[in-house]
Symmetry: C2
Subunit: 261 residues, 2 copies
């Protein structure tokens, strides 16, 4: 049990802001949703918002800030996007130039922040529906794969879809589909069920990101669109300047997972 | 019956392009969806897309073009957004400066086109569900009202929500809600049922746009978010340059209404 599992999102964000919390956010503020972060100059923000609009399954937008505003308006109150994530990554021309506990010194009046839904939120719904979540059982990062399914491009942003995989017993596939279909703001229904090679995955035991998990006899791999997709599109586009969260170091919302339905 | 009710969208768009068709599109290409149009320079396009993202009920985006592209990619094939609408309106600094059968001479490399869902599409679903649509019965434009419900602002775009109203017998209210809730790309479920004054409507018989319709005893006014909302926000923002469709002169999609579910 995480020591901050029963702490409120606002308190945890304050501890993050004061650098009391500097590690991964998994397990904090039980029941509350967490989000991925991408920050871009307004110059590229239209293309990125359009990429998300054209690819809503891998890029479900929870909030977009006004240019230059560090404050969120919708998914969290009294939150400062430049300080309230434990670890940030700064990229220049597609190259990681550093990791930082806050990005106040990088802030500019033209920066736009995108908060993007994360599959953490639907794993709880799967458990509630009686569907096992293997990566939680095995205490691993969910396995993620780069597929050959093209995203719709938008301006400088293009790429193929990244998916996360959870093995599901045949009799529970329908439950896994319906439970997640009800949550379009956190990737929604699976994009593929079974046959990894159909979407260009050569070896299910060698994920491109995260860690592999056990697939038991009688279980079928189920694939959901993954929020790493826009991160990969961002790396490929190599904009002059971009900031993201560091993997696992997420933004914690004031909204509960079920409020993202 | 409109003489083009059984003609394909592609053929009707070609007749519009050749100025054979110059009038309103209501009743053309039966079963196919129609859309509102807003064109803005890329300079304002991010704010407008963000306004739509923050206000999805009045501004359901069906397609956004790449800057400078006259061709649509998703909702219609071989369509030219600069010629395939019967009548356009050009605005400069919020002032209507002219109506034109095409906008080829105004085209610029920085223009972005927004195609926005229209309540024409869900009226058919209401009829299928056995819910009468008074404005169709009385052959009038649907009544629309400016409410006091604020939209979420985005950059230069702000305003209150505009709603359309259809009177529904009490026993059919639930059907009207569920039939339209299934179509989030064309405004979705009603935003208000009954009590017009709750949303700032003083006189239900004096709509701000369109024409009033008969409300029979036992019928309750039902209000849906309306695609005129972004047009009103556009007028209030007074961007240096903007183009819209002329009222009733819509873009006809290759997609059927039920495909917008």
């Amino acid at each position: 049990m995480n020591q901050y599992s029963e702490t409120s999102p606002r308190e945890v964000r304050e501890l993050i802001r004061r650098d009391v919390i500097t590690g991964q956010t998994s397990g904090m503020c039980a029941g509350f949703a967490q989000a991925n972060l991408v920050i871009l100059p307004k110059e590229q923000a239209f293309d990125f918002l359009l990429f998300a609009q054209r690819n809503p399954k891998p890029c479900p937008i929870l909030e977009v800030t006004d240019a230059g505003s560090r404050l969120l308006r919708f998914i969290a109150k009294h939150a400062d996007i430049a300080t309230d994530i434990p670890k940030y990554r700064v990229y220049e021309h597609g190259v990681l130039t550093g990791e930082y506990p806050n990005i106040e010194k990088f802030w500019r009046d033209d920066l736009v922040s995108f908060l993007i839904g994360c599959s953490f939120s639907f794993e709880l719904e799967l458990l509630k529906a009686g569907v096992p979540v293997r990566n939680i059982e095995e205490n691993r990062n969910v396995p993620m794969y780069i597929t050959n399914t093209p995203c719709e491009s938008a301006g400088i942003f293009h790429g193929t879809m990244v998916v996360s995989m959870r093995p599901v017993p045949s009799r529970l596939i329908a439950k896994a589909v319906t439970a997640t279909a009800a949550m379009p703001k956190v990737h929604g229904a699976p994009v593929h069920v079974g046959n990894p090679e159909d979407i260009g995955i050569r070896d299910i035991n060698r994920p491109d990101f995260g860690e592999s998990v056990t697939i038991n006899p009688g279980e079928i791999p189920v694939f959901w669109a993954c929020g790493v997709t826009p991160q990969v599109a961002l790396m490929a586009a190599k904009p002059a300047f971009a900031i993201t969260h560091a993997p696992g170091h997420m933004f914690i919302l004031d909204l509960k997972n079920e409020e993202l339905k």
